[in-house]
Amino acid sequence: MTVRKTYKLYIGGAFPRSESGRVYPVTSSSGDLLAQAAQASRKDVRDAVVAARGAFAGWSGATAYNRGQVIYRIAEMLEGRRDQFAAEVAAAEGLGTAAAEGIVDASVDRLVWYAGWTDKYAQITGGANPVSGPYINYSVPEPSGVIGVLAPQQSSLLGLISVVAPVIAMGNTCVVVSSFARPLPAISLAEALGTSDLPGGVVNVLSGSAAELAPWLAAHRDVNGIDITGAAPEGRANLLRSASDTVKRTYSPAGGRADGPGEEDWATEPALRRMAAFVETKTVWHPLGI
């Protein structure tokens, strides 16, 4: 007999049910019932933001090297559960086993890729600035803070990791709203995160409707940025407008067009854009000599 798994939320390192008590049926691409997933409410968003804020000081204060080690460890945990993730991705996205395994492998690679960037990104976008005066002047990127991430609706694992990894690699903490129709790989990823030395609260995963939850994230005054990748095209302008009230950093999917085409091709190697979206450049003038 197989033990049925309860898919819950991931908030502050714990796996609570939704505060609202709601669940919704998740079906495979062929229409079979896979599980009942927790359906997060605005109060779960609120709690998740509190958890993310609480985790920010520790995670942003960790060395970039240490963050890289932890993200690499996530990749190890993912790889160790390769078969489970392949099965979930196959069911969610209607793929054959080989294709699903390819996606899991690409997801592991993506994590390793971002793990490598943690202590190298500052070397690319920061550095010493030449100034005409007796100062040493340098710029360094610092994390923006708590980021709301609307994960892509189609790519349930590779897309999810491709939007979460750059945010945490830079030292931000985040509240992720998973794909509505395909949340199970996201919740299983949360279980991998929970066993990978990632401090609780750095990544908080909410399964539920982006249309319902995103406006709360966009308007939340303690959220410093929002990635609207998983929002429906018609809702994006309102989210960006709402986010502008509190001068949030925003990331819009490739091209930045609100009415853009379908999801980006997650298989291609990403550029630096997603990391660049959620950092603040600090420039220091330090008197020299005299």
């Binding site: 968003v45 609120r46 804020r53 308007a219 939340h220 005054r221 303690d222 959220v223 009230d245």
Partner: protein, 315 residues
Amino acid sequence: MTVTGTQQSEITRDESSLRRFLHGLPGVDQVGAQDRAAALATRSIKTTAKAWAIDAAISMVDLTTLEGSDTHGKVRSLAAKARRPDPSDLSTPTVAAVCVYPDLVATAVEALRGSKVGVASVATAFPSGRASLATKLHDVREAVAAGATEIDMVIDRGAFLSGRYGQVFDEIVATKAACGTAHLKVILETGELVTLDNARRASWLALLAGGDFIKTSTGKVTPAATPPVALVMLQAVRDFAADHGAVRGVKLAGGIRSTKDAVRYLVMVNEVAGEQWLTPDLFRFGASTLLNDLLQQRHKLATGAYDGPDYVSMD
């Protein structure tokens, strides 16, 4: 009908009658108190009731700073916050009082001149209370002379726990006399009294000795204000008012940091003591971080968006 059925003068005639009375108080059913407190905490307070509760709670806050590192500047900034908790919304009520150490009372009085905000001072060798009575009373007189309108004294827990109720009683009476017109709040430090029975006895002792308020804790000991302790103390002021006609207040201090907790306590005040107690004259929160959370929740009700700590002042 009186709850305890004894005249006040009879109870306080001498130490043995005081002891007889305090030990004759009905014991507290600890499980019952916990259950009752937990049941009251489940009430749902929303929309207009929540807005009322938040404003009421703000007006009941004793904005407190009791650190060794306190400075005159910190007290002045706290006073500015007490006068105008939210400069972006002038409909926000002011807090009840600012609570400081005795040597900073003059600074607080100066900074609050012309406002309705009171100045409370802890005294009597706060927080331990381990000093001679003469020293404690000197502490009180200095604070009152500097302009404190409220004095928060600590009882001698050592004396209370070893059963020297007469000594504790006499100290409260002497402190009350030294206060003059200033209000006296008696800190029981329930975290050190261990049992709810002791909390009930200490409450009655302080009320009989003339304390205007009974206060849970110094904030320096854990546990501080807990729902069962608040329940017992609110019962004490209710029963004291029924027996002796004098309406006294309760102040909860220590560990109350969220609006949710504050609203739960307001529900408890209403249900246990009565609606009459829902005023800053009879109920206070001793807190520092609570005010910021109340202001954030107030913003949330006004704007509809969740608020953040970037939009309130740091203390």
